[in-house]
């Protein structure tokens, strides 16, 4: 990642969320590339953190969250890592130790009232060292007709997040699914067992490093490789 050229930094942004580097255009290396596209090097950058003012109701909700966190003796910037706004959707990146206080505020504060949690799912970014596994929660407020997203990042070797089942019971199965597919342990979940895969299944299938089978079909001695090792556009 260090040899990637640094793209122009948008104003006000302190750090970029680089999740990988893309080389070439056709997914092939070593073949006599005469097009020159094989030399492309491009960092994969996620949308940058937003700075105030966010615009619309985003400021109002963020103020409300900060106030309610302070009322719980929790400075807002220790709970909220960063705020990302992309395509008119707001994402709060929350530190895991303060997740419970954060979602409790989302549910209970009259100015927030996110009554409905739409569950949690995982995303695996193997190249983001120290924060490989992300858990993404979607919340909806029927009262105010608003949606927010909460994202929690944890390192692969300590993939533990406090369970929010006590606050939003709907996350019961969603957290089990995220454990099943990504291996994120939700501390405090009443019964964190596999839900989709058989109980004795080894590994967590939706992680990017999960070994894929491939098809043992032979074409004159050559076999079809697993999908993640096949040549593909990238």
């Amino acid at each position: 990642m260090t040899d990637a050229p640094v793209p122009a930094v948008p104003e006000g942004v302190r750090e970029l969320d680089i999740i990988g580097v893309r080389h070439g255009a056709f997914g092939a290396s070593g073949s006599g590339d005469t097009s020159g596209f094989g030399g492309l090097v491009e960092p994969i950058v996620l949308p940058a953190p937003a700075t105030r003012p966010f615009g619309g109701w985003f400021d109002e909700v963020t103020d409300e969250i900060e106030l309610s966190l302070q009322a719980r003796n929790l400075p807002a910037d220790s709970a909220i890592e960063k705020v990302v706004i992309w395509r008119d959707e707001i994402t709060y990146h929350v530190r895991r130790e303060h997740l419970l206080a954060f979602v409790t505020a989302l549910r209970d504060e009259p100015g927030l009232r996110f009554e409905l949690c739409l569950g949690v799912d995982g995303v695996h970014y193997p190249h983001e060292t120290g924060r490989e596994l992300h858990a993404v929660y979607q919340f909806q407020s029927i009262t105010h007709n608003r949606r927010v997203r909460v994202e929690v990042s944890v390192p692969d070797d300590d993939a533990r997040i406090p369970s929010i089942v006590a606050v939003y019971p709907t996350c019961d199965w969603h957290e089990r699914e995220t454990w099943d597919f990504f291996g994120i342990v939700f501390d405090g979940h009443p019964a964190l067992t596999r839900i989709m895969m058989p109980d004795d299944w080894p590994g967590h299938p939706q992680r990017k490093d999960y070994p894929l089978g491939g098809i043992p079909v032979e074409f004159k001695g050559a076999t079809t490789p697993p999908p993640d090792q096949r040549r593909s556009y990238n």
Binding site: I19, R22, C117, Q140, R149, T170, W173, P205, R230, S232
Partner: protein
């Protein structure tokens, strides 16, 4: 029941002994710290009950995953006290097909072909939710042609009717109302005929594509949809007449599977179950997509919070869907059905020829004998596909079962980095325990039928 008087000390031992003696390993008894456990898989109750006489009886019944009344491969684990359910748990995962993982190795457009197979009774909703998410990530939501959005609305509302009909039909079947089942599946065919006419397929059509829809309505499509509506309306009324005031049907459903608003909110329940508690929550009204703000329709609510209320909501929602389809047909004007951006729009339109469905002859003529650039463009877009900027979005539609959400993460490539579906059936199925515990075992069937879970969507 040949193993009545054989006692094992563990399930493993029972299995081992059975392997040596050839007895049924799954129908023995063994001692545990909680007492002796008898495992029965069929046979006559009289042969097991004398053996268990006098002991504390705690009966756990595995209903499903292969059971005609569990709505697909759903496994219900019921703890019984007589015929009363004291604990109910749902076991799922028997239809997990790894669709979300598979999509990470196919282009964005090919994703449609996967998602249409998730909840196989609501393919149009799966496709639209996915396409709305991809379009949002591409930032082309405003560029979707009006005709494409209207066609999506028509297809979705017809799909809502067919899904509700299956909910009524299978629910009727499970409660013994076989005429309702026959009516439901017969009327559903009317809708599927329209789907076949428009998309070429009854189910799994992959019709809604990022940027619009795969092809325009056929020349007589509008006319044929218009002709179907009165017939559908008449037949839906027949189904309603059959059940709405039917005392047997009401006896099986009124007050059964009760779940109030607080329970729905806590468990994340949406759709007819939520609206049966009296909350008029419908994403078509609260967060309109595909131009739903332009249609006049009512959000149906009931305040009974029970299976009967959910049934009434489905009946009345079908009528509202027909209203929307009629308005949509009136709004239909000639125009493109795919976004104008040639870097995203699928290059070909489909047509029916003597050898079946395929690319239209004009397009083949264009790429094969007129324009080399068109051929290259077609090839690049079909094999490589378009790129979606890095980031994540969430788009939701009101499917017949509730909020169907699609969380799409892109890393800027030609394939999704991660796609997750918040399927309403998955979340709603969590309410089985809340609805069924304390009720009779026969009410479990009615309650599960009123949730209307489709395991293809639950397990994905």
């Amino acid at each position: 029941m040949s193993t009545d008087n054989v006692t094992y000390h563990s399930a493993d031992e029972a299995e081992e002994t059975a392997a040596q003696t050839g007895a049924d390993a799954y129908a023995g008894s063994y001692d545990t710290t909680e007492g002796r456990v008898y495992t029965v898989s069929g046979g006559d109750w009289d042969t097991i009950s004398p053996a268990a006489e006098g002991e504390h009886d705690r009966i756990v019944v595995n209903m499903g995953p292969q059971h005609p009344s569990t709505h697909g491969v759903l496994r219900l684990i019921l703890e019984l006290d007589g015929e009363t359910v004291t604990e109910a748990r749902a076991g799922i995962g028997y239809l997990h097909t790894g669709i979300e993982k598979n999509m990470e190795f196919r282009s964005w457009v090919q994703g449609c072909t996967f998602v249409t197979r998730m909840d196989y009774l609501t393919p149009m909703f799966n496709e639209t939710a996915y396409c709305l998410a991809v379009e949002k990530a591409l930032d082309i939501t405003d560029q979707i042609p009006e005709r494409a959005s209207i066609i999506r609305v028509i297809m979705m509302e017809l799909n809502r009717i067919s899904s509700h009909l299956v909910a009524l039909a299978t629910g009727g079947l499970e409660l013994g109302a076989l005429t309702a089942m026959e009516f439901g599946f017969r009327e559903r065919e009317l809708v599927l005929d329209i789907f076949e006419m428009v998309t070429g397929l009854r189910m799994n059509s992959a019709y809604v594509r990022p940027g619009g829809v795969a092809q325009d309505l056929p020349p007589d499509g509008e006319k044929r949809i218009r002709e179907t509506i009165p017939l559908l309306r008449k037949r839906l009324k027949d189904t309603a007449d059959l059940l709405v005031d039917n005392s047997i049907w009401m006896g099986r459903t009124v007050g059964v599977g009760y779940l109030d608003l607080a329970g729905c909110m806590a468990l994340g329940i949406t759709g007819p179950i939520l609206r049966a508690t009296g909350l008029p929550h419908d994403l078509r009204k609260s967060e309109p997509y595909c131009g739903y703000e332009n249609y006049e329709f009512d959000v149906i609510t009931k305040d009974t919070s029970d299976t009967y209320g959910r049934f009434l909501i489905r009946i009345e929602e079908m009528e509202q869907s027909l209203r929307i389809v009629e308005q949509a047909l009136d709004r239909l004007k000639p125009g493109p059905v795919m976004v104008a951006d040639k870097k995203i729009a699928w290059p070909a339109q489909l047509s029916i020829g003597s050898d079946g469905q395929g690319n239209s002859p004009e397009h083949i003529q264009q790429i094969m004998s007129e324009s080399m650039e068109s051929l290259i463009h077609h090839f690049k877009l079909v094999t490589e596909g378009f790129r979606v900027p890095a980031g994540q979005v969430y788009a939701a539609v009101e499917s017949p079962k509730g909020e169907l959400g699609c969380h799409v993460v892109s890393s800027g490539g030609t394939r999704p980095y991660r796609v997750h579906f918040r399927d309403p059936s998955f979340t709603n199925l969590q309410s089985v325990a809340a609805m069924c515990e304390g009720s009779m075992i026969s009410d479990v069937i009615a309650a599960v039928a009123s949730i209307d879970p489709v395991m293809g969507g639950v397990d994905r």
